[in-house]
Symmetry: C2
Subunit: 381 residues, 2 copies
């Protein structure tokens, strides 16, 4: 009983993994897909055309940040988020719940919703399931997420259950509030902490309501990686086959590979952009800290197997110099590389699923990735 | 008696103004030309291809900054500045003199050169005319500037004369130290403060030595704009017609127009990049501060008469939002616009000289520019 606001075709399968295509009012998204995070209507340091050139077909925007500044009504008057930020492709917005729950003592939760104070100026704000949907409508988001309570880790079973039940009641209210239209859709979010039976109950409740897609929430909140994968093993099989599955806030390159193997179709994470700003680059041989002095005379590209414009045009010595000198271009170039690396990884996984070679490709990637950086350069002398 | 390291053709004249073409080992430069400043091997916030797309054909690099970090010998080993920063077009480097002279109590001047302490780590360094030329050679700079003492403003006549005479002795030593080769050249720098007879003497001394081009130094150091123009009126006619003339560190759009009218061919200035980082945009109706709240609901482009990618893709409300939120993309987009605006202005002046209409075009520009920003938007409601 899924509404048909968003198209989703399954093109191929390989084990539990799926190769799909999501169709929105702002273009199609080949899945498995990684969504760069554009918190306050910008992927930090990137022009939208640079993000598009990496292969990204959908961005994530943050309702919490946008409702505070510049404001949802203002973005609505200015023609919506796509037009405001000059991004013509698809946009998914979170519901604001995750950020609000992180505010700790600045927020107060009740059955109807949550009241909180802005981290910017302390002004009071309120989010209810209905208001979260309305804000995402004003933003013109292609994929609206239901308002939920993100259960912390660790949480005792009783807390996880109470929290999940509240999220399910809110999910139902979001479904009623959502204005259906072609090319736009609403995703439910499975909660339940680390408890398999709660996760399965949550999945069943959401499937009963019927959504355009199903997200797995409450992960990547501090639990060990193997716990996250164990939750996926219990949860994903309980989700409808014919709808996209989105693992929220995950993650590291190896997490993406492991989750795609388990049947996840969509991801978002701040890691490639945040790491890019702090000098950490992703390569096929793992993470590299470009601030390290061993790069200062190294003319080689960050990742010799990467075909991105950064690896084609610049050496490690230059990237190192930019970070040492505190130049904006360091974060810009490294963000561009990291986003390109993530998109290239997703493209490789998509091809592997089509070719039926996902297990071999995943194993090869994970082995290389665990090996560590290339041996030190002999120097350019 | 000008060496032929750099080609310079005069294509057209209009009054004292000249339309020319400089030929270097890294491409040609249509003059009058504006050179964006790439202080430490990067135009702050810009990818080199973005700078090139604005129309820039030559960048300025700062010897002082580059010799301290990452070091001239290191850049030399890595293949020179073009390759290091991925900028295949022409590069002019200053000699380091201007920055060193600004260090005040951190430096000590003698006949042979200047000793100073790094502003980064306090380590001692020394620049002599010969070392300044050697560093610029290591950087693979197409246009090397002589080491000079930038006379402060105001300076009594005696100080200006002593300083100018030292600069002339240094210019001669630079000429002897410079390694001549096709596509590379050395520019002399006229000093003499605000004293016409000193300026003329300096110009005559440099012309006697013979350089590939002649710069006017010691301006844009705090003197009133009319003083700067008066110095140009006295100095430019004393320079050889057949070689390019470069006004160092200037300036505002109106200064470029007035200086082109007086026969200047080349400019550099941090204004478009620095203003871009602080929220100040250049438009055909003068400067606009995008941090001002009056832009927050304004969907119009920064400058409706500008054809740059920023004015085509983004509204003032969005730029305002980015600066208010402290997002990197604000400085990036505004720097891109400002550099585009400067290059478009230079292109317009070049066309006007070719068409013999410079006086009318200059008067029209200056009149519009003085009018102030567009009337406030009625709002997007």
């Amino acid at each position: 009983m899924s509404p048909a606001g968003l198209g989703f075709e399954l093109l191929a399968r390989d084990g539990a993994a799926r190769r799909g295509r999501l169709t929105t009012a702002h273009g199609t998204v080949e899945t498995p897909a990684f969504m760069p995070v554009g918190t306050v209507a910008t992927v930090k340091g990137m022009l939208p055309e640079q993000v598009a050139a990496t292969g990204a077909e959908i961005l994530l925007g943050n309702t919490y940040h946008l409702m505070l500044r510049p404001g949802a009504e203002r973005i609505g008057r200015l023609g919506g988020l796509h037009r405001f930020m000059n991004w013509p492709r698809a946009i998914l917005t979170d519901s604001g719940g995750f950020q609000v729950m992180s505010l700790a003592r600045l927020r107060r939760l009740d059955e109807d919703g949550v009241t909180f104070k802005s981290h910017i100026d302390g002004t009071p704000h309120r989010l209810t399931p209905e208001r979260a949907v309305e804000i995402q409508d004003l933003l013109d988001s292609n994929v609206t997420m239901v308002l939920d309570e993100c259960t912390p880790f660790p949480a005792p079973r009783e807390q996880a259950e109470t929290s999940m039940q509240l999220s399910m009641r809110w999910a139902e209210r979001c479904r009623r509030a959502f204005r259906e239209r072609p090319g736009y859709g609403l995703f439910g979010i499975v909660q339940g902490g680390v408890y398999p039976e709660l996760r399965r109950e949550s999945a069943a409740r959401l499937t009963g309501i019927g959504f355009d897609g199903y997200a797995v929430g409450g992960l990547a909140v501090g639990e060990p990686p193997e716990t996250m994968l164990a939750v996926l093993d219990e949860t994903v099989p309980a989700l409808p086959q014919e709808r996209p599955r989105y693992l929220m806030g995950v993650g590291r390159p190896q997490d993406l590979v492991e989750s795609v193997r388990r049947g996840i179709d969509m991801f978002d994470c701040v890691l490639p952009t945040r790491s890019g700003r702090t000098g950490r680059g992703y390569t096929h041989r793992g993470e590299v800290n470009l601030k390290n002095a061993r790069h200062r005379d190294d003319p080689r590209p960050l990742d010799p197997e990467c075909g991105c414009p950064v690896c084609s045009g610049y050496g490690r010595a230059y990237l190192h110099h930019l970070f040492r000198a505190g130049e904006m271009l360091g974060p810009i170039l490294l963000t561009l590389h990291n986003l390109s690396f993530y998109q290239a990884l997703m493209a490789r996984l998509r091809q592997a699923i089509e070719a039926g070679s996902l297990e071999a490709v995943a194993a090869g990637f994970l082995e290389d990735y665990a090996r560590g950086d290339l041996p030190e350069s002999p120097g350019a002398a």
